[in-house]
Subunit: 572 residues, 2 copies
């Protein structure tokens, strides 16, 4: 009976997941094509080479649909412009002389306008129609990658087409200006200035949301913004997940804190950790998790870090190191490193600038960052690996502060605090929930920016029972709204959920995963991620990706299990 069930499930997935179509396509194909399915093979001794991108550069590969061929060339150029904007932005944050910033803003905004012009050119619709027609009549000419590529092309066109070039340009300008405004607002605790700027950002975001909702024939404003960061996830879905997490994590908090209060508290870090040594450690750790420094690097900046880069040029940026606490920059490096390895392992050789070669959006991106930073980077095994090296690097032989036990204790200490970025893993969710609720109200017009500080504090009291001392600790702490990223916050917790799911799934196939981490052997982990997430680009939709990779639908269960294990049972 079980065998029959499994066969039935397999048959269903075979047809649903496009494998059927792909096999048909292969059977009836007139053209020679590299075996893309190779990337689905199980890991083995030759795993690393088996999952290398096939030699065919699919971006330039002839396709019988002329319209699709033309679209591939256009999207190559759009992709180039996006990569250029990315590099100009990276340069803005890392190397550009200060005096260039006004003209640079204009240049970056103009690049975004050009992308918009090219994405929404008037004959694009005609090309899409012709390509879609070709696909319908000659399905055998389209394998799963080609059809996914066309699907993503159309999605990009529709997302950008809803708004005007003027709005695109304005948004890009305000994004970079927002970084400065945020820095200044924090430095000067300038609420009136911040309020005015934030009101402008909320207005612009609402304008964008309305235009998108109208174009899609819906009236859900927040969803229209969230779609950009969590494509394939609905607001209602997020509310369900968050509701469950809220309930379960609230229950976990007292026993976790109670258990820790019975232990000896950790010895605080507070020695002197030279900046050079910290950056060496951060780079060495990134190299260990598979980041390729031939195609990227790690840099310090006075600004906030920014995720991004391209598979060919992945320059990661973290905030200047704190010489009193090496764990601060390490946390940031591990987080950005998770983003970076994902970016670098996208199918760049085959689909460099094509939409199907891009990442799955912010939730999946954050899952890669949080998997490295929070899930793996806070295991006891990780600190077993780190501790002896830290003793040598920071000249503290058998210094009890640097013991694996102590470092682990520090990083798994649960303590509600007003700050999201330094929040512990258990209360992190509540910060995200808090922002999610507030930004939803802002976008849906139920909360005014002028009332934000009070609403922020009231809700913080409500959710975590604490009060920020000032605005810098309160509603000014995050850069997201300043740069116009409304709808991004849920990506952190959804990413955390996915990270927990991925870790559970890989632990089933990687023998003794904790032993591997303790030995600094991250290759099996990175290979698993490359095979199941990175190399897929945008081939699959969100639900399919998660299910194929982890064997289960996206949901909070794995995260709850992980947090329970680590914080209540103290077993990870």
């Amino acid at each position: 009976m079980d065998a029959l069930k499994r066969f039935w499930a397999w048959l269903l997935s075979y047809f649903r997941d496009g494998a059927f179509k792909h096999h048909m396509a292969v059977l009836f194909h007139r053209r020679k094509r590299a075996k893309i399915t190779a990337i689905n093979h199980p890991p083995g001794p030759a795993a690393s080479s088996a999952i290398e991108a096939p030699a065919v550069i699919r971006q330039y590969e002839e396709h019988p649909s002329e319209a699709y061929m033309e679209l591939k060339y256009r999207f190559r150029d759009i992709g180039r412009l996006e990569a250029i904007a990315e590099t100009m932005g990276r340069d803005f944050l890392t190397a550009m002389p200060e005096g260039a910033w006004r003209s640079r803003l204009g240049q970056i905004a103009y690049l975004h306008r050009l992308v918009h012009e090219k994405l929404t050119g008037q004959d694009m619709v005609r090309l899409f129609d012709r390509a879609r027609g070709h696909l319908a009549q000659n399905p055998g000419d389209w394998d799963e990658w080609d059809s996914a590529n066309l699907r993503e092309m159309i999605a990009n066109h529709e997302c950008d087409g809803a708004i005007t070039g003027d709005i695109v340009e304005r948004r890009a300008r305000l994004e970079y200006e927002g970084r400065r405004r945020h820095r200044d607002a924090l430095a000067q605790s300038d609420w009136p200035g911040a309020r005015e700027f934030l009101s402008g950002q909320v207005d612009l975001a609402r304008q964008i949301a309305e235009a998108r909702a109208k174009a899609a024939g819906r009236n859900t404003l927040y969803q229209a913004l969230m779609d950009e960061y969590l494509p394939g996830v609905s607001t209602m879905q997020v509310e369900d997940w968050f509701g469950e997490l809220h309930k379960k994590l609230h229950k976990m908090l007292p026993p976790a804190m109670e258990r820790q209060s019975r232990e000896e508290p950790p010895r605080e870090i507070g020695d002197f950790y030279p900046a050079k040594a910290q950056m060496w450690l951060n780079k060495a750790l990134l190299q260990a998790i598979g980041f390729d420094f031939e195609r990227g690097g790690l840099y310090e900046t006075g600004h906030n870090p920014v995720e991004g880069g391209t598979p060919d040029d992945t320059r990661l940026v973290i905030k200047n190191v704190d010489i009193r606490n090496f764990m601060t920059s390490m946390k940031s490096a591990l987080h950005e490193g998770g983003h970076g390895v994902y970016t670098q392992n996208l199918p760049r050789k085959t689909w460099r600038y094509q939409p199907v070669g891009q990442d799955m959006g912010s939730a999946v991106h954050e899952s890669q960052a949080l998997l490295v930073e929070m899930i793996i980077g806070r295991t006891r095994a990780f600190f077993d690996f780190l501790s002896p090296r830290a003793e040598g690097l920071f000249h503290g032989l058998q210094n009890p502060v640097l013991s694996a036990e102590n470092l682990h204790k520090i990083k798994t200490r649960v303590k509600p605090s007003p700050d999201r970025k330094t929040a512990d893993e258990l209360t992190y969710f509540f910060h995200v929930e808090h922002r999610f609720k507030l930004e939803k109200e802002l976008i849906e017009g139920r909360l005014k920016v002028a009332d934000l500080p009070d609403a922020w504090n009231a809700q913080m009291q409500d959710i975590l029972g604490i009060q920020p001392k000032n605005m810098a600790e309160g509603c000014l702490q995050d850069v997201h709204w300043f740069v116009g990223k409304f709808g991004y916050f849920p990506a952190y917790t959804v990413g955390h959920m996915l990270a927990a799911q991925q870790f559970e799934a890989m632990a089933k196939v990687i023998p003794d995963i904790n032993g591997a981490i303790a030995a600094g052997r991250f290759a099996p982990i990175t290979d698993w991620l490359r095979r199941n997430v990175h190399s897929k680009g945008c081939l699959l939709d969100f639900d399919t990706l998660v299910k194929q990779a982890t064997g289960a639908a996206a949901g909070p269960d794995a995260l709850v299990r992980h947090l329970d294990r680590r914080y209540v049972k103290a077993a990870a």
Copy 2:
């Protein structure tokens, strides 16, 4: 009688130089306009602020010709794309991870294609016609800057319009690839590989020259290439100048060398000069000559230095310092610094991206670099300023190597050698003449790349009486042909001529210029250059710029006088 003559000359120049037209325009003008002529005022105590760009941003200023207005917007965007390509190229050479280089080539080439597309768009001709018509019928609406801007717009359009987008893209790719090929050819003395690549570059350059010559209805190939670097200068003119210089400098060489042979030879530099100290010195010197580090910087690179940057973002690049000789990196920094100060002082606030706001091309650019590096940077006065600081910086109190006399001796030592970049000021011209003759023959089809090494050596023997030891010292030494810059070399000597003329002219109005240099007071010099060269952008044609600034037509006389004074008479 003299007074009458002078009045007559003034009257002629008044009408010829557009001042009459401008005054009429001001008299009959309906629009309020900032007084651009302010930048022609003589220097005074308030000179620095008097020559500040007027507050009006002319780029966006309303103009009654709608077509011209539309053109201003289009050229703003073209200028942005060029600035972006510039930054992407700078990043390529200074910060980009190595593995990104192939995709970066594609991005830069694509930016050049976009510029070409926008410059040659099919309705551009119609816009030019309409704007020209407006100018003819309403001359009062056009001041000298507007009409010069239109003139430059059309010139850019015609220069680019002669060649196809494919050629533009190929040229851009080969330019950056050429840098690597050159580096590798030098490292491996690989002539067969270099020959093949150079043949491709010559073919491409000839193709471009033919297309341009055809579009202009002429048949002078080399001129068509030289026009890009020395607009307004004819090949015949260059040949005349070079003929005269050849004769006079050949006569100067024996007495100069004979005189020096009678002196005690300089003590050689060969101590240890820490890289950090050298870079501090280089930056400090650039700051002294007026380079603004708010809008730029000085960086080391493993590649060859590249002139460039934009007025908002002028990142200068020099080759990695030689820790055995601080004068090597200093020479390079002074050279690039001269370029940089010119770039930074272009009329960026008023005409940021407009053609009239750009520089006058390579000859004038090199004049700024060589004025600082060769003319001023080798005066005895300069070493009087440098020497005591170098003693302190490099820990050599009263070290005879660092005496002003010795440093001056080193940098004014005349000795024919096979290398252009390290050539002394007197024999420098012969290297340029040598390249000029060879590249002219290459482009005009009278010399094949395969025969280049022999031709190079034979002519080197002929002109300077020396033989390169190998190809790295011979025909592989310069990067120019590898990056496709045929027609550039004359710019060095024409620039050297202009630099000598400018120095003579400014010495007449700056009291005790050598005293100023010896005291490190470069402000009067930079102010003179800003007023007479930098702030003009592309307002004037080559002949007018030179005559207005120096009071004489461009020619070799001032250079001959300068070299005679310094090397034969030993008086500078």
